[in-house]
Symmetry: C2
Subunit: 332 residues, 2 copies
């Protein structure tokens, strides 16, 4: 029970990243040792090396939780984002875009150290994306960057799993979890990547069991969390430990486990998958928007599917069409 | 007559700009005093003010002549670009994209002074673009940035009219014209904007009459050059002063005046105009590519129309599909 009504729908914590999106062929992935569909962390040297080999690109603000907050705001939620950029041109682009999308973002940029983070997104012809991420200034996020009033005011705190790698950022997230729970709010986590889950399995298990109310994972991340090969078996475990779990399965739609049991929700059909960057982020956006508006899990999943479907029809991980109109048309 | 065979098809001189493209409605234009379809030069203060009000955007390398060189290279021409960026992140993006497109670009970035130039491109729903350009480091181009061997080696020197505003850049272009003519090459000019023509009418008239072999202008720019209200009358004058003139007329196609008389070439139909940014630039790219390949003016215009049609079907001013395949399919 929350002592005060929430004045904000959702606050997300994650990497503050600008995506550099370029179209490549399979050979490019092989030549540069990239595993299709994966996310690999790279250092500054490797980033410049890979960028030199990269095709002409376009820059779009990104970052997983940031995309989710932008999507939630586009649907009508009040949303805020916590993440770290540097006071450089790329950081200026990130801050501009998230503000212009109507998301509150007040964390002070760093004045020294690494540049603002960038993600080189290699998009192959069938629309799959392979990401090489230079976290840059993102890793400088610290507990003191967490505004306790902001977190306590939000109905849902949304955590990007990716940010579990940098130690001070992880501490900042743990601090935010304490504030959110202390204020009687809900905590939500996205597992982000199966390899990330491998790196932090014990901590993620404990976090999910002790503090997470709403878990987002794709099937590979979900199975990685409990080192199981079988999805159904994984779902039985998740049902026990989490209040609400949304497992996304790409073209197979999603499975929601909640207090009323299990619901399977089909994927929203699209004419052509252009670029799947941001599909999971926007699924979470739709889900959380509907959740904070008081909808049943099944409706939440439909909102998620519609928002995810929009973002894969174009280059870039943030919505480019009116999501509210889209949802009104399809959910009614 | 050229003493040596050209080893490069085309070298372009122009502003080195990164476009910031955002979708706006008509009200945005009115509120910010922007005239639809125009290009306005803005200073750094105004750029930041307008950017603050700008919607979420995406960044694509741009610059008129730079787009033309990228288009020519995409069609198979050997192309080089001369323009000035700063040693900042936006400059790094510009340099990366033009190199990755296969265009030679060797001008040293400035190490102090203005940031790399940016153009805020406001795209309205029907696909028209309204540009507010902060030239930034572009205006620092000087005669010593012109590599004489490079210019002398190119069959065509292509000048972006926009660069006539900054005095040292204009000097650099005049210097390049002298080198090109001295080496027996062809000089080509794009008039870029009717207001620009108003500002430099006498100089442009003299340049066109004395030094330009191939002139690119839209109908408004062409009429502005001789202060005439009538297009047909304007064409009669242009026929006298220039060896080849290509007058573009948006949806009405283009008119070519050349040694064999006048040809009217229809526009290439497209399903949907998404963003007209770069249409003129890519028309020049197709035209120059075909011209240096030895085609008749009519075929040059078809290449131009096809390249222009591609670029208006998506956001951004540089080709995103295989132009060589497109041209092969349509011209045969």
């Amino acid at each position: 029970m929350s002592p005060n009504p929430a004045t904000l729908d959702v606050v997300g914590i994650g990497n503050a990243i600008v995506d550099v999106l370029g179209e490549v062929d399979e050979i490019f992935l092989t030549e540069h040792g990239l595993t299709k569909g994966s996310m690999t962390l790279i250092d500054e040297g490797r980033m410049h090396e890979l960028y030199d080999a990269f095709p002409p690109a376009q820059e779009h603000s990104g970052g997983s939780a940031a995309n989710t907050m932008v999507g939630a705001a586009a649907l009508g939620s009040s949303a805020a984002f916590i993440g770290k950029v540097r006071d450089d041109q790329v950081g200026e682009i990130f801050a501009h875009d998230i503000h212009a999308a109507g998301v509150e973002f007040e964390v002070k940029p760093t004045e020294e150290g690494s540049e603002t983070g960038r993600c080189l997104v290699a998009v192959t012809p069938e629309g799959e994306r392979t990401m090489s991420t230079y976290l840059g200034a993102s890793i400088e996020l610290e507990p003191k960057d967490i505004n306790p009033e902001l977190v306590a005011a939000a109905e849902v705190l949304y955590l990007e799993g990716y940010l579990w790698d940098p130690p001070s950022a992880k501490q900042a997230m743990r601090h935010a979890v304490d504030i959110s729970r202390g204020a009687g709010r809900r905590v939500s986590l996205s597992l982000s990547d199966p390899f990330l889950v491998d790196r932090h399995r014990d901590e993620f298990q404990a976090l999910v069991e002790d503090s997470v109310d709403i878990l987002f994972a794709n099937e590979h991340e979900a199975m990685a969390l409990y080192e199981l090969d079988d999805l159904e078996e994984t779902l039985l475990v998740l049902e026990e430990v989490c209040e609400v779990t949304a497992v996304t399965r790409g073209r197979q739609g999603s499975i929601i486990l909640g207090p009323y049991g299990r619901v399977d929700v089909p994927v929203e059909e699209v004419e052509r998958r252009v670029d799947t960057t941001g599909a999971g982020d926007l699924y979470a956006a739709g889900f959380l928007h509907a959740f904070t508006a008081g909808h049943e899990p099944e409706v939440c999943a439909r909102f998620g599917s519609i928002a995810a479907a929009e973002v894969i029809t174009h280059i870039g991980a943030r919505p480019e069409t009116d999501l509210q109109a889209l949802v009104a048309e399809r959910v009614g």
